[in-house]
Structure formats: C-alpha cells, structure tokens
C-alpha cells in the first residue's frame, strides 16, 4: 500500500476474534474484533484485551477465575483450544479465532 506522498505503508498485523451473533451486541454490534499484534499472543492474552474493552463480553466467555466457560468453545486454526494448549494456545498475527457456543441445551 502506498500513500500520496509515496511513503510505503504496510498493513498492521492483527488477530481477529469472530463472535457469534448472540454476543455481538456486547461488542458494539461487531461480528469481528481485531487487535494489532506484532507477534504471537496467547488466547488468554487475546481475551484479556477483549475484556479490557468489552468487560461484559469477557465475562460471558470466562468466569472470574479466568477459566473458559464450559459451553464456550474457542477455535484456533480449526482446532478447539481444549485440544491444544487451552488458553495458553498461541495465536499468530493474521490468524482468526472463532468463538462458538456448544450445541448443548434442552
């Protein structure tokens, strides 16, 4: 990308968090939250950043001990983080992180 001055602008690397529709009102109506990242971050770190800006949304995903709620699933690279390193799973710039609710309930 270049500007009128000819200076070169590189896209800022970022990580995206994709939200299900039911949670989007807690994120200002957004379906995707992005955060700049110049290196890997953990899912916990990503959720900390989300909670700093959208506290109620953060509480929907994790309880006050920091544990992921039982029926909240977070996917990184197509795998649910409980099958990876949990909330310590690393996310690299450019990756998308999906929040999906379990198909549980009655």
């Amino acid at each position: 990308m270049s500007s009128a001055s000819g200076r070169q602008w590189l896209p800022v690397p970022e990580i995206s968090l994709l939200l299900p529709s039911v949670l989007q009102p807690l994120a200002g109506g957004r379906s995707i939250l992005t955060t700049p990242a110049d290196g890997p971050v953990t899912v916990a770190g990503l959720l900390d950043a989300v909670s700093a800006d959208y506290a109620v949304l953060g509480r929907r995903l994790r309880d006050e001990t920091g544990a992921l709620r039982r029926f909240v699933n977070i996917y990184v690279g197509g795998d649910e983080v409980r099958r990876l390193q949990g909330l310590d799973t690393e996310v690299v710039p450019g990756q998308e992180v999906l929040v999906i609710q379990s198909v549980a309930g009655g």
């Binding site: 109620v56 995903l61 309880d63 029926f71 379990s102 549980a104």
Partner: protein, 369 residues
C-alpha cells in the same frame, strides 16, 4: 373483597423460568398484561422487587448455560436492563471460586435503604449497599469451619434463604445442604441453628448441621419466630432458631419446598406439600396450598381454582406473597403454570400457562405501570 390498586399503583408479578423472565402487571390481580420473555434462553432462578426509595427496581439472577451467571436490574419495569461492567456478584480472586448461580435476591428493610442481600452457589451470601449493583462476599460465612462438610442438594449447593431482622442485627441463612445458620452481629459471625430439625438421611439424624432445609421465612409480627419447610418436616421456632418444633401435623405430607409468611399478620404461613421421597408430586396428584393462621397448630387446605390433577412440583422460590390487604398469594409449577390468589389463598386463578419450568415468582404492589 378484592383490593384494587390505587390509580397510582398496580400489582407487579415477575415470573422467572428455565428459559427467561416474564413480567405482568394488573390493576386488580385478575387481569394481567404480560411482557416477555426477557433474557430468553437464560434461567431466572432469583428475583427481587425493591420498592424502597420511591422507585421500583427489579433485580434478577440470570444464568445462561452457555454464557454464565450474572445479576441485572431494571428501574423501568423491564423496558431496559442494566448490568455492571465487572459483574454484580464476583468472587474475590483469593477464594479461587467462581459464581455458579444466584439463588436469592433479598432487599433489606425500609430502614436500610440500598441494602440488598444475595444467596448464591457455591454456598455464599453477599451484601450490597448500592441497591444491588455491586455485592460484597460475606467472609464470615465463606470462611466458616463447617464449609468443607456442607453438601449439595439435587439442585446444587447454595444459600437459598436469607431472613434479616428489620429492626436488629440478626440474620438467618438456610442452605442446602447445611441447614440454618444464624448471625446476631449483622453477618460477621455465624452459628449453626438446627436443634430439633431432623436429618433422617444422615447416620446421626440429629446433627448440629447438615440438614436439608428447603426454605425459611420469618413471622411478620412475632419476634424470634420463624418457619421452615425441610426435606421432610415442617417446623417453627419461637426463640430465634435456638430450637425448632414440628408443625407438620395436619398436613397431607411434610415434604415440600415452599414456605411463605404473611406480610403483616402473625401466625399466618403457607406451604405447598409434596409427597416424597418416592413421589415428588402433590399428594395423589391433587395440587393444594395449605395455610395456617395459628402458627402451625392447624392447617387449612386451599384448592379452589386449582386444577383437579397436577403432577408438577412447586420449587422453593416459585411462590410469593404481595403486601396488599388481603395479601395476594402466587405460585408457579414446573409445568409452567402460574396461579394467583387475591384473597390469601381462598381462591386461585390461572394467570399464565405453558411457560417453561417456573423457578421463581415474586409479586409486589408498585407505583405506576
């Protein structure tokens, strides 16, 4: 005679279910206008209607199976809801605990405006001094040496009943399972107070604590008198829970979850007996409320307006009284039907049906609406 609300008042009925909250208003406790569901697909196990300080605040415990528990409040009869950013009930980090569910929301006396109590799972009680927007954990009960021996009832391990002396510093809490605990210093320290309440399901049927008390309520006018519906057993204490005595004689069953007391009159209480343990249904499938007007010495069966057959149970907080004269009595079943009486239970009328399981019912006379 059925009391009409004044032109500036109406009756508010809040129905918490397994899949959301319904609110209803009525000028006469006969015809109800409903809104809802609010919080669709979330359980509403607790409701508090706080009419102090010249406003009507509805507080609800909301528990989503997916997104966890929270407490929300509305000052406009449910048109809008607010939720503190950091959560109203939040365990301190050093406890290592996380909130599962708020089972009880109890606005304190008129003389203590802004004070609201909450009972929660895991077993804990909380106190707010800002009208229920932020609660503080009661450390005296949380750190109680009996904690490791408290257990979980079928619905979970929770403090589900809070009774506060409006004129003093005495607080009673009931938990399943653990029994009744009393504080005489406003909640700083707690002692088990279960003498006389049977725990037939334990090796020692008369332990200091461990009873499965389902609900307690205070007599409106006699100081030191409380009533308890136990997991088998209906009891009364006249000495602030130092000793309990059975008042189950005359009831068709001594099991049940509900215990209601009159808002003003001494000696009047209501229960909804269920046959148990093998059959947790109204005895013989015939639903009835039973009222005493003499502190449990005798009971009157009340079923006018109730269905001939009903096989659903009534949970501990799925019943309420209002403060009108005569008092209104309300309850809902796990089959999603809600009944209301404008004459202290003499006659009931169905006000809602086919709702999800009713978990909590609260009623009040409110301004406006």
């Amino acid at each position: 005679m059925v009391r009409m609300a004044t032109a500036a008042e109406s009756f508010l009925l809040a129905i918490g279910t397994k899949k959301g909250l319904w609110l209803a208003t009525s000028p006469d406790r006969k015809d109800w206008s409903f809104t809802g569901p609010h919080f669709l697909m979330a359980e509403i196990p607790s409701i508090g209607i706080d009419t102090r300080e010249g406003r009507t605040r509805i507080l609800v415990g909301v528990s989503s199976p997916h997104w966890g528990p929270t407490v929300a409040h509305s000052d406009d009869l449910g048109a809008t809801w607010s939720e503190p950013e950091q959560g109203a009930v939040k365990f301190p980090q050093d406890t290592g605990a996380a909130l599962d569910r708020v089972w009880q929301i109890y606005p304190d006396a008129e003389s203590r405006p802004g004070v609201v109590w909450a009972g929660a799972e895991p077993i804990s009680i909380w106190k707010s001094t800002d009208g229920g927007e932020h609660f503080e954990l009661n450390r005296g009960l949380w750190d109680h040496p009996h904690r490791s021996e408290w257990g979980a009832g079928y619905g979970g391990a929770a403090a589900h009943s809070i009774v506060v002396d409006p004129a003093g510093e005495t607080v009673h809490v009931a938990m399943s399972t653990g029994g009744v605990y009393r504080s005489v210093d406003g909640g700083t320290s707690w002692e088990a107070r279960n003498k006389g309440i049977s725990a037939y399901f334990m090796p020692d049927p008369n332990p200091e604590f461990g009873q499965c008390v389902h609900k307690i309520a205070a007599d409106a006018a006699v100081e030191g008198r409380l009533y308890a519906q136990n997991h088998h057993g209906v009891y009364r204490t006249d000495d602030n829970a130092d000793t309990w005595n059975s008042i189950a004689e005359g009831l068709p069953a001594d099991f049940g979850f509900v215990m209601l007391t009159h808002p003003r009159r001494d000696g009047t209480a209501w229960v909804v007996p269920l046959k148990a343990d093998g059959e947790r249904i109204p005895p013989d499938g015939k639903l009835a409320v039973h009222r005493t007007d003499d502190a449990g010495n005798t009971w009157k069966r009340l079923s006018a307006g109730l269905p001939e057959h009903e096989y659903n149970s009534v949970l501990r907080d799925a019943a309420s009284v209002d403060t009108a004269e005569p008092a209104g009595v309300y309850f809902g079943t796990r089959g999603g039907t809600v009944y209301a009486s404008a004459d202290e239970g003499e006659t009931f009328r169905e006000v809602a049906s086919h709702l999800p399981d009713v978990l909590c019912v609260r009623a009040a006379v409110v301004a406006g609406a």
